[in-house]
Amino acid sequence: MKKVYILLFAVIAFVFTSCSSDDNAVVEVPEEVLEGTNSVSFVFNHQMFGEDIVYDQYYKENSIGESLNITFLKYIVSNFVLIDEKGAEFTYKKDDSYFFVDSKTKDFKITLNNVPAGRYSKVKFGVGVDQEKYLRGMEDQQEFWDLCKEHDLIWGWITGYKFINCQGLFKTGGQDEEGFQLHIGSHGSKLDNYKEVLLKSPQHFVVSAKHKSTVHVDLEVSKLLDSTHKIALKESPYIMIDAVRAPKIMQNAQTMFNIRSIVIDKE
């Protein structure tokens, strides 16, 4: 196994294309034919203000003037769709497309297996669990439900998943510290907080029998409260079933993710 960075490919490809256009001659560079299937992994790197997250540590104040100390962050990602350079979509098997992510485990990795060969440029996924899956009954939940139960991503007093569970301490303007808890999920049948994220990759992630890709995704955790919407914890440190703030936090969550780089393992 030899590790090759796609960037190198891109540079070479660029050199080739520029050469050919300079020469104004038709120099066919046959693109490598991609066949078979392989896995695509996603590694989630959790950050605060661009640095790897450290638990039990206060960070500088956010734009709302609140300093956070994160002690717990787990969430659910689901329904992965890979989109290739031509816009064709590969939807990962729904039954296998639910994952939880623990920010405490550095480089938390999830893997999609048997992805068909292709040059993918975008990935779409959900944060949380869609209502359709939920309403299919217990048979469809069992394994994932048990897993989520173990990781405090299940509500007991209502039947549903916590899409995001984030806890910690905060200080507002040098005042005493207070605890905060965000338990964000769908509100029964009335408010569906499941949200989709679409990420463009800076480089193609190549998949074939010979190419295995790993997508490194950065998550800027501070954006959960400080992004499209500014959520002041001082006003409401315990956000659980909140019809105003919960959807805003989910919209903020959509902006947290960013693909940093792609690593391709080539046989």
Partner: protein, 347 residues
């Protein structure tokens, strides 16, 4: 790679075979249960996807429903607070007593016609019948248990091994099978043979007295906007104008949705077997139907979220009913008592 493919295909084949087999296993004709949907009922909400009705599953559900192992200290079963003779409500108790003798804050509702409902509990905490038991199981003052722990307890009971095997071909005993069996048992708790039912279906024994007929007519005019269909609930959540109990400060539907408009809204209760399910309202504050009707006539408290149906055109609130009319409605409501249901040996 080819080898891998073959291996995966083989696995898939094996998987599909075993799945077919398990279905075939439970497709035993003697075990089939035919669900008869009463002709005066709306269509089913619970679709039995991946959970075909079987006698063996209903039986298992019944055993589980009565099993105290579903609570942390093995003292409380579902049946502790949902008693068959009272249409699976907790007769006489405003609030039921749970684990460690703790008291809840809502009246245990009757369990009946669940497969026709889309949302459960006074606040809609669940919209999936198979998930319903999760709420009381996890509730700190009810059963305070969790699924993996219950499954562990069940696995140590030889009786369950054969019951689960018979019902689901599940020797392992999983919480999925357990919840499916409980859903089946609750799904066959169908109350549809009251005197009123026989009356509307034109069946033998379906006679109503004059006063009961008057009550029915009044009911249709004054109550059926919310207590609609022959389920006697439109399954909506409404604030019916009960004075807020400051001590409990139960926000009702708001606790599940977080929308201000849902504050103090509770699910419209079915009135089937209402004669058996006293006391009434989400907090069991009224002991008699007379009190309930009197409340609707002149006890309703106005508030921001009071249901608009309870506001009259003349600006007053409540339902206009003379005491004779209230009496007639109560007489009608008592025709909804289903003696067959509470005597059904299968339940």
């Amino acid at each position: 790679m080819f080898k891998e493919c073959v291996f995966i295909s083989l696995c898939l084949l094996l998987l599909s075979c075993s799945k077919d087999q398990s279905e075939r296993y439970s497709d035993d004709i003697d075990d089939a249960y035919e669900l008869i949907i009463p002709s005066n009922f709306p269509s089913l909400s619970y679709q039995y996807v991946n959970n075909g009705l079987k006698k063996s599953r209903i039986e298992l559900g019944k055993v589980l429903f009565h099993d105290v192992r579903l609570s942390a200290d093995n003292t409380i079963s579902c049946a502790s607070c949902h008693i068959k003779e009272f249409a699976f409500s907790d007769y006489g108790k405003a609030f039921s007593i749970g684990i460690d003798s703790l008291v809840g804050k809502r009246n245990a509702p009757a369990i009946q016609n669940m497969a026709f409902m889309t949302e459960y509990f006074y606040d809609g905490a669940s919209n999936n019948l198979e998930m319903v038991p999760i709420v009381p199981i996890h509730n700190e003052v009810e059963m305070r248990e969790n699924l993996p722990s219950i499954v562990e307890k069940l696995r140590s009971e030889p009786m369950y091994r054969s019951l689960f095997e018979k019902a689901f071909n599940d020797r392992e005993i999983t919480s999925t099978s357990m919840l499916k069996a409980l859903a089946q048992y609750m799904a066959v708790m169908i109350s549809s043979n009251s005197r009123y039912d026989r009356y509307v279906r034109g069946e033998k024994g379906g006679t109503l007295s004059q006063i009961e007929k008057t009550g029915l007519q009044l009911f249709q005019q004054k109550c059926a906007a919310c207590h609609s269909t022959d389920l006697f609930t439109d399954q909506s959540f409404r604030n019916n104008g009960l004075q807020v109990n400051e001590k409990l400060n139960d926000l009702g539907r708001y606790e599940v949705t977080g929308f201000d408009e849902d504050k103090f809204a509770f699910k419209v209760s079915s009135l089937r077997n209402v004669e058996l399910t006293a006391p009434y309202m989400h907090d069991g504050r009224f002991n008699t139907l007379e009190e309930v009707l009197a409340f609707y006539t002149n006890g309703i408290v106005d508030s921001e979220t009071l249901d608009p149906l309870l506001k009259r055109k003349d600006g007053r609130i409540g339902i206009e009913l003379s005491s004779d009319e209230q009496h007639a409605i109560i007489r009608f409501l008592k025709t909804l008592t289903d003696h067959q249901f509470i005597a059904n040996p299968q339940l």
